[in-house]
Amino acid sequence: MEFVIETKNLTRKFGDLVAVDNLNIQVKEGEIFGFLGPNGAGKTTTISMFCTILKPTSGTATINGFDIIKNRGQVRKSIGIVFQDPSLDDRLTGEENLKMHAGLYGVPKTERKKRIEEVLEIVELKDRAKSIVRTYSGGMKRRLEIGRGLIHYPKILFLDEPTLGLDPQTRTHIWDYIRKLAKKEKITIMLTTHYMEEADELCDRIAIIDHGKIVALDTSINLKNSLEGDLITIECKNTPECNVTNVLAEKVKTLDFVLNVKNMDDKLNLFVKNGETAVPKILDFARENNIQVYSTSVRKPTLNDVFIKYTGREIREEGADSKEGMRERARMRR
């Protein structure tokens, strides 16, 4: 078996809405594979189908060689899941949550104790194992859920927005745990996220997904390199008589080292070859055309730029809709 996850025209519709549209991906063993996209892009729907919670409208997928429609039981045994929303029994202790999971997933009785200790070790919750989950912090709960997903030696671990609603410090901690367990447990990890940094930090390959379709799929470096150049941002002083930004935008297009121009009102985003040498040339060019430049900056492209290139908008725009906000607040309270 070559790929641990392989989909064939996987599609899911909700009424008229096509949440996942003819998805075709192949994930190799041991890979950390990320789905990056705004809320509503179809990430959770895809994961739910992989976990056999949701049936595809058409197409199918194999997980660890098992068909998600025909071999649901085998699929479920092969995977560990960390849901987007909390799913612990917070009236039980951490250890009891793990024990119950081991029982439900049929981990042999003789191995349970050892395995639970191993997992507690990985997520560093050994000293709190006997405390009621209610007393855990948000990050600890998340770690326990990740640990729980590992108990039954899954081949693949699904993490649906693993750091949603956690503070930045806790987030980097969780990333450490994910990296650690990928190495230690030698499993394939598939995660969804709408945080650029998360995809960038963790994933070997990233699929950018929008409106249920994959718009780009590659390593983070290749995705960024696909933009072929650096990003220069130029800020001009518009006057009421003349929108000089527009004027400049039209003119720089003629320069041969400028690959792409995006006019954002009073700012220009230029993709150029070799940004460091391009800046003085552009400034000279602006001066020649009597355009006053207010500020400039040069940077390497980020995943955000990649996302904008492929979808035409920023991921953040939809990153905080009201339901999302509610969920984040609910998570913080817990």
Binding site: I53, G73, F83, R91, E96, L104
Partner: protein, 247 residues
């Protein structure tokens, strides 16, 4: 193997949670005791043949406690759904039916524990519990509470949120309780009341408990047992099906 494990863990979880809330155990005993002491005390001038009202009320209060605790533990699935835990159980490689049975047995076990605690208080009323009356009571408790937990699970699989919990409480649990002959003898009641109560499974559970504990029952014990057994089996089947169907 894994299926039995599944039933076992879902059952154990109910017991752990029950045990952890000592306050819940306490309130679940205090409420029936209040009925017994206040209502029983207030009507102590009434005597029904050879027994006083308090002793007459005692088996009814056990049935009441079983009813309340069984249905609420069935409905507690709504909370599990709301707090996400249900998902963890539902994606496990264990059949829905095992989860249903684990839940039903767990709810029945906690209801029976509460019933037994009240039964143990029989000495206050100088009621003597013989081994046979104990075993019959235990059997009634098991059959009746399994049926009622299933009723709760059926409701939970149709309800979206626990906002409707109060409605269920008032429209279902209280009528079942009041129309069961737990508080008054049905053979002295008006015909219409008697007629409605005959359709209430709790009537038979109460009657059987009364027969076992204080030795006065309206119907033959066997008859009571058949009715509550049929009720429970039907509820378990409907419950299993509806639990299987829910998302």
């Amino acid at each position: 193997m894994s299926e039995i494990d599944g039933v076992y863990w879902v059952w154990l979880r109910e017991l752990i949670r029950f045990w952890r809330f000592k306050s819940r155990i306490l309130t679940s005993i205090i409420q029936p005791l209040l009925f017994l002491i206040v209502l029983g005390g207030g009507f102590s001038f009434v005597s029904l043949g050879s027994v006083n009202y308090q002793s007459f009320l005692f088996p009814g209060i056990i049935a009441m406690s079983l009813l309340f605790s069984s249905i609420s533990s069935g409905i507690s699935v709504i909370w599990d759904r709301e707090f996400g835990f249900l998902k963890e159980i539902l994606v496990a490689p264990v059949s829905r039916l095992s989860i249903f049975f684990g839940k039903a047995l767990g709810g029945a076990s906690t209801a029976i524990i509460q019933g037994l605690i009240i039964l143990a208080l029989s000495f206050i009323l100088s009621i003597v519990i013989t081994p046979s009356s104990f075993l019959i009571s235990l059997a009634v408790m098991l059959i009746f509470s399994l049926g009622m937990v299933s009723v709760g699970l059926i409701i939970a699989s149709f309800l979206e949120s626990f906002e409707s919990f109060g409605v269920i409480m008032n429209l279902l649990i209280f009528p079942i309780f009041l129309l069961s002959g737990a508080l008054f003898p049905l053979n002295e009641a008006p015909e219409w009341l008697k007629a409605i109560s005959m359709f209430n499974p709790m009537t038979y559970a109460t009657d059987a408990l009364r027969g076992a504990i204080i030795g006065t029952s309206t119907l033959p014990l066997m008859y009571d047992f058949i009715v509550i057994s049929v009720f429970s089996v039907v509820m378990i089947i409907i419950g299993g099906i509806s639990f299987n169907r829910q998302k």
